[in-house]
Symmetry: C2
Amino acid sequence: MSRYRMDLGEVERWVKAKGFRRVLIQAPPGLWPEAVRVSELLKRCGIEVIIHGGSCWGGCDVAYLEAKYLRVDAIIHMGHSRFLERDEIPTYYLECRYMDPEPLRSLLGEARDKLDGYRRIGVGLTVQWLDFLDELLIGLRDLGLEPYVGEPMGVLRYRGQVLGCSYHPLLKLEGIVDCYLVIGSIFHGLGLALQTRKATYAGDPQTQRVVKLEESVRNLLKSRYGRIQEFRRARRIGVLLSVKPGQMRAELAMKVKKLIEEAGKISEIVVVDDVREDYLMDLPYEAFANTACPRLSIEDQERFRKPILLPTEVAVALNRVSWEEVIRTPRYMAMKISL
Amino acid sequence: MSRYRMDLGEVERWVKAKGFRRVLIQAPPGLWPEAVRVSELLKRCGIEVIIHGGSCWGGCDVAYLEAKYLRVDAIIHMGHSRFLERDEIPTYYLECRYMDPEPLRSLLGEARDKLDGYRRIGVGLTVQWLDFLDELLIGLRDLGLEPYVGEPMGVLRYRGQVLGCSYHPLLKLEGIVDCYLVIGSIFHGLGLALQTRKATYAGDPQTQRVVKLEESVRNLLKSRYGRIQEFRRARRIGVLLSVKPGQMRAELAMKVKKLIEEAGKISEIVVVDDVREDYLMDLPYEAFANTACPRLSIEDQERFRKPILLPTEVAVALNRVSWEEVIRTPRYMAMKISL
């Protein structure tokens, strides 16, 4: 039995209405069993199906390149809400939402203890849990809390939604709320906690834990500053430019490269798809600037060993902005340079 | 000091003559330090350079997709001779040939002992060693041997050249020679040994070893047959189709899929770029058919754990051809199905 609710009927109607004959199905590895369900449905309708056997890190990571090369008519991209505004190949973002509200319900008890003392709470959820947004808000109100949610904005398609790289509507509530609660995983909470000075909690229905992220953030930022120091000593810097459609920031990469060169270092643009630890080690650069997925600098840094700085961290390393000025503000993870 | 001879002057003339402004440099990780030399040369000429930070497994693996997405004018593809007949993006295959003949010279002593008793020897070299082909032939003749080399053919651009997936000119000499000697690595020798019943030796100038491959081949084929048995028991089969331009065999993939379905199994096309062990494990198939790089089935099988059969092995598994009939013949590694 699947744990997910998927609009299979809607997918079928879309494929048929558009007259697509050949479809690529792309999903994160954890959803490959669900991809098979979609594949079986489409094959019964006489559609030729190809399964994408590569990575799928987010709605930013749509397999256009493979799709074009294979000359498929359309992509079914699973597990993420629509990220890109325009499709290079017609793309159906097939969300997979949890069907069982129980883990979220029982998390409320844990939340009550942890959130004691706060009143106004900014709340965000990953798309998988969004079916239970209203139930969560009622539950929080029943605990005497006053929950606030962000409105849809840009890549955040739904009220209350968060992404690991996008929290803007929640951050706009900073002046109103006493703290934040992000439902998803530590990963999703941490992305917000790095951009705000308000207390931030991650609630993970799978592990039934509600965690305050204060200490993680402090430790992480300390370690980040160490990486900035290493970057300062580096002579040759690779500027990572991704070919993933929602991570490809060519202008930013050129801007960062120029900034690094102005500081007297050597810099080159390095194009990447999935970033491999061994390749970063082999590449003849002592440090990297990251214009791809911001989370590479947060979650994957330990694996990578060489510094891989966010654009704003590069600006700090080159003394163009001050560290204190940017940490725990939205500028920290913004994939742009504002000097 | 570089160990390689590269025609940098020729690259520079090519880029200038064609008026290219923006160039992608792609090289295997081991040659990235050389890629920097090329990059520095081109940058001095005012060319904008992007370094490819992904894989580069052979001349089959040209980064057209990234190049198109980045809108570069041309690719400098390093370390391999031209593989693809036509370029989707103008591509310069910049070979890197060893400059020091000493390791090859001193290997001759080892070869003399090992090749004692043979007279006519089919000789092949990887492109890195090709500058010393004539010297090698003279050396072998001085040992009283009678060396034969294959003529250029298809992807083998030079007299005496071998690739890990291509040995045709040498195999044509099977009726004439007593044994084979492949200069490069065990890897390069093994690819030939699997396709011939003639004794095959691999000579590796780096390790100074000349190795008879008889036992490796016997063990490998035994293990391959075990994989074929596993494949027979599998119900769901993924047919790997690569997006690497020289490995993309869409027709073969469709043919293999049909064959598998005719045998009453479920089969789907799975598109891959670099093949990741964890992804193959996660994909909901018990076994795979490989239409990408044949060496995935040879060198990478142990890592992959699930069977990943060559097209001919699939035909054996489905009782369409007999094992004894194909092993140690060119059919074994041919990336096609001939029933």
